[in-house]
Structures are given as structure tokens and as C-alpha cells.
């Protein structure tokens, strides 16, 4: 019975030899489970017939023509794309990177030493700021 069960779809499709078709037919009269499954399968496979040859959009050719024209214009633009992507883009990025590195180095550098006489200037400042030399705190408190 298992072998007959496996052949139910072929029975529905009429793919079995006459003898086997007869055997399956007789089996279906006896086995209600198989008969119900065959009925279900028949309905499900019947969907294929309903789906066959769907209505094609009446503007199919118009849309196709528009798509074809778009693709042609795109292919003309595409000619410039590799030049832009492979040459100009890396060149611009490299230049920007170099500018960035140069700016970073410049900013990071210490300010250049000035050529004025620092020692003399320092002494003046120290003497001006260090008032303790001319007026000691002890002297101030003793007054």
C-alpha cells in the first residue's frame, strides 16, 4: 500500500502505466485517507492551471522602451564613472590627507625662539617682581 501511496501524484498526472492506474483507482475506493489526500492534491495542483498565462501589463512595451532608453543614457554616464571613482577620488583624498598632516605638524611645532636679549629682560623682570630684596617681610613686620 505504501508503494501505491507514493504514486498518487503520478496517478493524478496520468503518468502511470494502465495496470498501475487501475491498481491505484481500486485502492482509492478502499482507502478513504488516500482518496481524501488525492482530492486535496488535485485542488492544490489545479492552482497551476489558474495561474498559467497571467495577464501581461498593457503598457509592457512602453515601460520596456523607457527602461531601454534609461539604460542607454546610464551607460553613457558610466563612461565617466570609472575615471571619477578610480582617479579623481583617490587624488582628492590624498591631497586632503597631506594637507591635514602638514597642518598637524605645523600646529604641533614649538614657537620659534625670539632673537631679543632675554637675559637682560629677565633680570629686569625679576628685580621688579622680587620686592623681597628691596623690602624684606621681616623689616615690614618690625615696623
Amino acid at each position: 500500500m505504501q508503494t501505491l501511496h507514493n504514486k498518487l501524484i503520478f496517478f493524478l498526472e496520468g503518468d502511470l502505466p494502465e495496470k498501475e492506474m487501475e491498481l491505484v483507482k481500486n485502492h482509492l475506493l478502499e482507502c478513504s485517507t488516500c482518496a481524501a489526500f488525492v482530492e486535496e492534491m488535485k485542488k492544490t495542483l489545479g492552482i497551476l492551471e489558474a495561474e498559467r498565462s497571467p495577464a501581461v501589463n498593457p503598457f509592457f512595451y512602453t515601460r520596456l522602451k523607457a527602461k531601454l532608453e534609461n539604460k542607454e543614457s546610464e551607460s553613457k554616464q558610466v563612461f565617466w564613472k570609472p575615471v571619477l571613482v578610480r582617479v579623481l577620488q583617490p587624488a582628492i583624498f590624498s591631497i586632503l590627507l597631506m594637507i591635514g598632516i602638514y597642518a598637524g605638524i605645523k600646529i604641533g611645532q614649538p614657537a620659534p625662539a625670539q632673537s631679543i636679549n632675554i637675559s637682560a629682560a629677565n633680570i629686569d623682570i625679576i628685580s621688579f617682581l622680587n620686592e623681597m630684596d628691596s623690602e624684606s617681610i621681616e623689616g615690614f613686620l618690625m615696623e
Binding site: I9, E40, M41, I47, P54, R63
Partner: protein
């Protein structure tokens, strides 16, 4: 215009010949693509790509095979590529897109018969079940089954399109039907419908 005439004129870039080619074969190409992808809009998009490819590569067409065989082959290959891309992009597809594609299928069935809602619902469920069962088949079994069932091609015609022997087509169709029965039986047992 005969097939040979269309090809000759098309090779010279005649637009009228291209129009005639599209009008003559659009139903066949859309139907084949529909059998593979189960969505009318997608099938039409793929069919358009097929005709664009024909327009561009008509000079490569060898007269040793029929134009219809060439078109079937392109339709099948384009559909398989579409399915592969679609599978890859499925993770990035939004929920709305998947709902939209299901609705398109349902609308397609509803438009056929609006008088019996229960009949529509049952048919929709059956169609979904059948499509899932067909999609679960191995690629070559699916192609052979689609060409046989949607286009009603003979074993010989299928063998030419798939570039395999007739006995291979027989074997592919046998296995496809057996696998389909298995899938449908599992669903029948679980009472999917």
C-alpha cells in the same frame, strides 16, 4: 513577419522588429518568469530585462537553436539570479516589502473571482502552499517543473532549454513530483488548509 525575418531586422537595429518580437513572446517570457518567482510585478521586471538583453545581444544569437529556446533559457537564468539576489537581500528586506509582495499575490487571485470570498481565501492558501512547495525543490527540478507545468513544454523542448538529455528531464520531473507530493502530504497531515 517570420522568426528569421524578425531576427535579421533586429540585427540591423529595426525598432518595429523589436516591437513585434516583444508582442509575440512577452506572454511566454512573463509566464515562465512568473512560474519561477510567483509574483506578477517581479516576473514583468525580469521579462523586461530579458528583452533588453535580447536587444543588446541579438548579434550573438546562433541560428542553430530556436528563438523561443534562447528566450526560455534567458528567462530561466534571469529568474534564478533574481531568486538568489532576493534570498541574499532577504535579511535587509523590510517587513512592509514582504507584506506588499504577499498582498500582490492575494490581489492577483482575488481579481480572478470576487463573488466567493471563501473560495478566494482557500485558493490563496493553496497557492501559497503550492509556491512554497515548488520553491523548496532543487533548482534544476524547479526549472524542469515550471517549464513543464506553466509552459507545457515537452520533455524534448525542456531538454533543449536546460541543455540536458531527455532522460535527465524525465528523472528531474519524476523527482520533482515525488518531492511535491511529500511536501503536500506533510501539509495535509498537519491540516494547513
Amino acid at each position: 513577419m517570420s522568426e528569421t525575418e524578425i531576427i535579421q531586422k533586429l540585427q540591423k537595429g529595426n525598432e518595429q522588429a523589436f516591437r513585434e518580437l516583444v508582442e509575440n513572446y512577452k506572454k511566454m517570457v512573463v509566464n515562465t518568469c512568473f512560474g519561477m518567482v510567483h509574483n506578477t510585478e517581479d516576473a514583468e521586471d525580469i521579462a523586461q530585462e530579458v528583452f533588453i538583453e535580447v536587444f543588446r545581444s541579438i548579434n550573438n544569437f546562433r541560428a542553430d537553436s530556436k528563438l523561443s529556446t534562447w528566450l526560455y533559457r534567458m528567462a530561466v537564468n534571469r529568474s534564478l539570479n533574481f531568486i538568489r539576489d532576493h534570498k541574499r537581500n532577504k535579511w535587509f528586506q523590510s517587513f512592509e516589502d514582504s507584506v506588499r509582495s504577499k498582498n500582490a499575490l492575494h490581489e492577483n487571485l482575488i481579481n480572478r473571482n470576487t463573488d466567493h470570498p471563501e473560495y478566494i481565501l482557500e485558493n490563496t492558501q493553496r497557492a501559497t502552499l503550492l509556491h512554497e512547495a515548488i520553491d523548496s525543490l532543487a533548482e534544476n527540478q524547479k526549472v524542469a517543473f515550471t517549464l513543464s507545468k506553466y509552459e507545457e513544454l515537452s520533455y524534448q523542448e525542456i531538454s533543449k532549454v536546460m541543455d540536458v538529455s531527455v532522460s535527465s528531464v524525465e528523472s528531474l520531473l519524476h523527482r520533482a513530483k515525488k518531492n511535491l507530493q511529500k511536501k503536500l502530504y506533510v501539509c495535509y497531515k498537519k491540516k494547513c488548509i
